[in-house]
Amino acid sequence: MIDLEFVINTLSLGSLYALLALGLVLVYGILKLVNFAYGEYVMVGGYALYIAATLLGMPWYVTLVIAVLAAVVVSYLTELVAFRPVRNKSANAQIITSFAVSIFLQNVVLILISSRARAVQLPFFFSKTVTIAGATTPVRNLLIIAVTAVLLVTLSVVMKKTVLGMAMRAASDKFTTTRLMGVPANLVISAAFLISGLLAGVASIFWVSRSASVDPLTGAAPLLIAFIAVVIGGMHSTVGAVVGGFVYGLIFNLLSITLPASMISYRDAFMFVLVVLFLLFRPAGIIKGGYTEERVG
């Protein structure tokens, strides 16, 4: 049961989930904002892919860039238009705002495109299969592992070595003190949303490639996955989010092969019971972050 194919599947699923979780936790770390609109960045990326590839028939490398850019732009715009004005308001006001943004974006595509799923044309090599040491797997599974590895290394270099990265890490520890040191709040927060959008955009390509279609509710599942992964891994550190993503991928695959067929439909409920248990017995998650303020504001 646990063979190379299982390992590759788990690694690729875990990579995807790690990207999703990391994008969510970057914004949470600084703003203490639970961004319910995060899933919609993935949906927007998917629709950009649909418009560029299926409708306009652009070459595949252009479509991928457009998908990522669309998610980045929408992420930035939501910060500018919706989250910035409520930044100093209560936590509940921020959460409700993010949920309203999510509903808004869903209904925009509902009105402008359609409520029905649209087929997305993906690069031809995505669904080709290769055989490594007896394990057969689609190319996209290997691609997501490679892309995630590159992104994680780049991101950790940026966070550790550049001034902006250090400012962001400092801001997620103590936002007020960081501002007193002369770091502009808007810059740090915008950077967090841009990176968050970038990760969501990259994840959207691989998320959409699994079903090769996109609909207005595409964002719901990635959002929930990111929530679970963040809770399992630890919501106060970026390392925790990545670990959480991989652990979630592993648990999900294990549940898929071990649960009896009659219980498989309860798999989501199992996952969320796990989340609740995790929060109760280890609220800090697997990786315990450093000291954090309760909220900005």
Binding site: V86, K89, T97, S115, V276, L280
Partner: protein
């Protein structure tokens, strides 16, 4: 003090209730006498919405915790009441897989609705205590996760709920009179609860949990008790809703409906009874107008394509605008009092000014 002075002092003290309940009753009687059937149905629905909103308000307004779970309790109440009051013949036809024991159950409507509330409260009592220990991010996520668990169970347990398919044949019992009476009772309960010992302690934990703990308030306990009581009210509201709508599926108790309830609370202001009431009025009216507009646009072919989702889109925009403009809601944390317009200065108590700021 003469009797008259006492009565007038009482009325003055509770003028908030008069400001809210008198229009509710007068408008209800007017609608019932002169309104069309459609208007009567809408008013009944409005009254049931009030019950749901105040169930959430009791918990969220006083504890400051954003609850996603309450629509799940509404659903539990609706299914429990529906299963109890629906005729066995209808159930055996409509829900083929139902446990025989449940098929045979049959009670009059009112006890069914009350038992439905108790079932919801029992579920809340079982799952609630650990959840109440969490605040902030963790609290929001767990309550959100709890709603998803309740939803998955509702859609999968087809021996009880008929799964994702429609549960139908619930007797039509919730008339406009029932709706108004229920709304009045729930508003009175929420009003009384806010000023009760438990409500005051809960509000203290909301405003400063460490100060509250320092004067000996057990935060988890007061949250837990309120959670159970508000689940009871939510369950009863669900039963009323089930006997108004008569057929429903688990979809009716999920995120978009919870978002609607939260938007009613947030737009009006969850901190006060007046705020929750006004929010429900504003959202109900705005939603109905937008729906009319949407169907008018689609029927008159003003645009070359059909617009679905316009209502939700504008509601979401409205909500962000209200949050930016008045994060405490249109009414804020203060209650409406007679006289509505003061000549000079505010004569609110310090506690209420604190809430308005929060």
């Amino acid at each position: 003090m003469s009797v008259m002075t006492r009565v007038s002092a009482l009325v003055r003290r509770h003028s908030t209730l008069a400001i809210l309940l008198v229009p509710l009753i007068v408008a209800g009687i007017a609608v019932n006498t002169f309104g069309s059937q459609l208007l009567i149905d809408m008013y009944t629905y409005f009254c049931v919405s009030l019950c749901m909103v105040f169930a959430v308000q009791m918990f969220m307004g006083n504890s400051g915790i954003l609850s996603w779970t309450h629509i799940g309790f509404v659903g539990i109440g609706a299914y429990a009441a529906g299963i109890l009051s629906t005729a066995p013949a209808v159930k055996s036809m409509g829900v083929p897989n139902m446990y025989p024991m449940l098929v045979d159950l049959n009670l009059p409507v009112l006890p069914s609705i009350l038992i439905g509330g108790l079932v919801a409260a029992a579920v809340a009592a079982v799952i609630g205590y650990p959840l109440m220990r969490l605040s902030d991010f963790a609290g929001v996520i767990t309550l959100f996760a709890t709603l998803i668990v309740i939803h998955v169970v509702m859609t999968q347990w087809d021996n009880v709920t008929n799964g994702p398919r429609t549960f139908f044949g619930v007797p039509d019992w919730t008339t406009i009179t029932v709706g108004i009476i229920a709304a009045i009772l729930v508003i009175l309960l929420a009003y009384w609860f806010r000023e009760s010992a438990l409500g005051l302690r809960l509000r203290a934990t909301r405003d400063d949990r460490y100060a509250a703990a320092a004067i000996g308030i057990d935060m988890v306990l007061v949250r837990y008790l309120t959670f159970v009581v508000s689940a009871l009210v939510a369950g009863i509201a669900g039963g009323l809703w089930a006997h108004y709508i008569t057929s429903f599926s688990p979809k009716a108790f999920y995120m978009s409906e919870m978002f609607l309830l939260l938007s009613m609370l947030v737009i009006g202001g969850s901190g006060s009874i007046s705020g929750a009431f006004s929010g429900t009025v504003i959202v109900t009216v705005a939603r109905e107008l937008l729906r009319q507009l949407e169907s008018w646009i689609n029927n008159a072919h003003v645009l070359s394509f059909e617009v679905y989702g316009l209502t939700e889109l504008v509601m979401a925009l409205l909500m962000v605008l209200v949050l930016v403009w008045r994060p405490g809601g249109v009414i804020g944390g203060q209650e409406l009092r007679w006289p509505l317009i003061k000549r000079s200065g505010k004569d609110t108590t310090p506690a209420e000014e604190g809430q308005a700021a929060a």
